[in-house]
Amino acid sequence: MSTEMRADPGLYDYALRPPRLPDPPKPENDHLPIDIEVRVGMYEMQQLIRQTEKRAHDLFLQNLVKGTTHLSLGMEAIATGFARAMRPDDYTFATYRGHAHTIARGADIKKVLAELLGRETGLLKGKGGSMHLTDVEHGMMGSYAIIGAHLCIANGAAWSSQMRGTGQVTVCFFGDGTTNIGAFHEAVNFAALWKLPVVFVCENNLYMEYTPIDLVTPVEHPAADRASAYGLEAVLIDGNDADEVYVTAEEAISRARRGEGPTLVEAVTYRQGGHSRADPGKYRPSEELQAWLDKDPIKLYHQRLLRLGVPESRLTEIAQDVARRVDEATEFAKASPRPGPEHLLTDVWADGGSEWRN
């Protein structure tokens, strides 16, 4: 064809887009009926995720880790609120942006950092790395790099608990960009029809890689505005408020446990860093980034706990204790051996072997 292509001018021009600013924090959520010790626990968990991930980033910059990493800096409240509302035998499915979810379910950060450093003591004996964190013992059923694919796998896990009648609930996390993939559509449609005990959580951080989500999505809320297509209610929450996440999670999870089927939650948030290690995130208006840094979930939660009467000294102690644990974990990881060649062909199949060719 000889005709010249004419794209819409401005269609792809990020620079012309207005910044997407956060909704203001909700001081009224101070009054949500959540036990203060649960709240202090969620503060500690957010600190643990934040500090471990910052350390992971440093280790990457020191070239101690091969491959890439996708951090959840600024998104910690979502992993924390959901994990807190889950039963120990519930299942988590996450994306390559999965450190937070792994830690929130209770994985040992020594094993997490060792895994990132490719050491034998890691969660996956150093053979998985950042994008594949898995800890079955803690219900963390894996981090998946193929956009959308794990929603179908999560359905399978949920279906299995439905059949076995165990009351287990599966919580599946994914990004805003994922809502435009066919697998999202097939999975949510199927789960709604079969009333599977699954909660789909869209962590809407406003970007898919370097593309602002509104450039590629014809509706304002990528997940919430899709709910009606599956006969589900729209659930749109502030993903930077651990308490709001927690009460939403409790409700969705108990609904699923009662056999009333799935919930599709959209938690609006922001990643403070780039998409992955290699990305400085310069395509985002600085005014936008600043507004979201001001709405940092940990900073806001810290202020809430002070308003609720938790002494500053207790919070400082928690942060310092976490820092100590992260240092210890770092030393542990660095001192651990790399997996030897005898591990090369193990853990490929369920029986632990690699004899599939025979």
């Binding site: 066919g182 559509h185 014809p218 297509a229």
Partner: protein, 346 residues
């Protein structure tokens, strides 16, 4: 649900076209039904491969196709021969395609209709691509794509509608909700109340229409086509209809659905209500009907003769029509075939 002509032939709104066009579309529906029944008969005689009948869906297909310009794109399925024929796909090629002759999939250049898609949902993405390409080239040509209720559960449906919604692509998504996807009823297909409401997820209008009502189908499609042509973006239409026959000639619907349900839909026959409408306006009588049917039968017969008189395809033709320059492994297979044939003949 939009309805203009009730099953008993009463007009409950304003007719979207005059009597002459109405007569023409009625004739087209008669031809379509004649074609459909002929194909079922031919399949039973072993002259056609598996066939997917559309009896009951004539108004949905003829009414929507009539709302297009002759050069608009159409991308449809195995059950949409009536729509494709109405948009200019030669009937003899439709028949030839069903005999298993690949030439049935190559319409003349001026016909902007793609060969029917067997892959459920996959073709919707192609329709979006065609419509988008037309827009990028500054043309006002639009595309319409046909699919069933079952196709709406496919990931391709989601990706196609999402893309069209984002870029405001001039594509009309025409869903014939015929109640069934093989043996799966609509109620087991999706938990959403209507298919039309799925449009919300893609920021486009969704309309539910009585798919057995020629008038309403024409009206809502016309509006969607005009919207698309004006650059205002896509529309999702849910035409509520019913497949009166089996899924294909190798299916026995008696195993999964009630005869009562079929009877109920027979009473909502899309041709009958137009017949009553025309008859009340002095444009229909039994002799005319006989004449229309006879003409239709002749047209179908002619197409079958043409299709069956095509010289049989050669074994090597199976390699044609896929690649502009075939990859090496296919060229090797082709060479091997030629060797065998030479050996066999020599």
């Amino acid at each position: 649900m939009r309805q203009l002509l009730t099953p008993s032939g009463d007009l409950v709104g304003e007719a979207p076209f005059g009597l002459d066009l109405c007569v023409r579309l009625y004739r087209a529906m008669v031809v379509a039904r004649s074609y459909d029944r002929k194909c079922v008969a031919l399949q039973k005689q072993g002259r056609l491969a598996t066939y997917a009948p559309f009896e009951g869906q004539e108004a949905a297909q003829i009414g929507s196709a009539a709302a297009l310009e002759p050069d608009d794109w159409m991308v449809a399925t195995y059950r949409d021969a009536a729509a494709m024929w109405a948009q200019g796909y030669p009937m003899e090629l439709l028949v030839a395609g069903r005999t298993g002759d690949e030439r049935g999939g190559s319409p003349p250049d001026h016909v902007n209709v793609l060969p029917p898609s067997i892959t459920v949902g996959g073709h919707m993405v192609h329709a979006v691509g065609l419509a988008w390409a037309e827009r990028l080239q500054g043309s006002s040509r639009i595309a319409i794509t046909y699919f069933g209720d079952g196709a709406t559960s496919e990931g391709d449906f989601h990706e196609a509608l999402n893309f069209a919604g984002v870029y405001g692509v001039g594509c009309v998504f025409f869903c014939q909700n015929n109640g069934w996807a093989i043996s799966m009823p609509r109620s087991a297909q999706t938990a959403s109340e209507t298919i039309a409401q799925k449009a919300i997820a893609y920021g486009m209008p969704g309309v539910q229409v009585d798919g057995n009502d020629l008038f309403a189908v024409y009206e809502v499609t016309r509006q969607a086509v005009e919207r698309a042509r004006a650059g205002e973006g896509p529309t999702l239409i849910e035409a509520v209809t019913y497949r009166l026959g089996p899924h294909t000639t190798s299916d026995d619907p008696g195993r999964y659905r009630d005869a009562g349900e079929v009877e109920e839909w027979r009473r909502r026959d899309p041709l009958e209500r137009v017949r009553i409408f025309l008859s009340e306006r002095g444009r229909w009588d039994p002799e005319w009907q006989a004449e229309v049917e006879e003409k239709a039968a002749r047209e179908v017969e002619r197409a079958v003769e043409l299709a069956e008189s095509l010289p049989p395809p050669a074994p090597g033709d199976v390699f044609g029509g896929m690649f502009e320059s075939p990859p090496r492994h296919l060229r090797e297979q082709q060479a091997t075939l030629e060797l065998y044939r030479a050996a066999g003949e020599g």
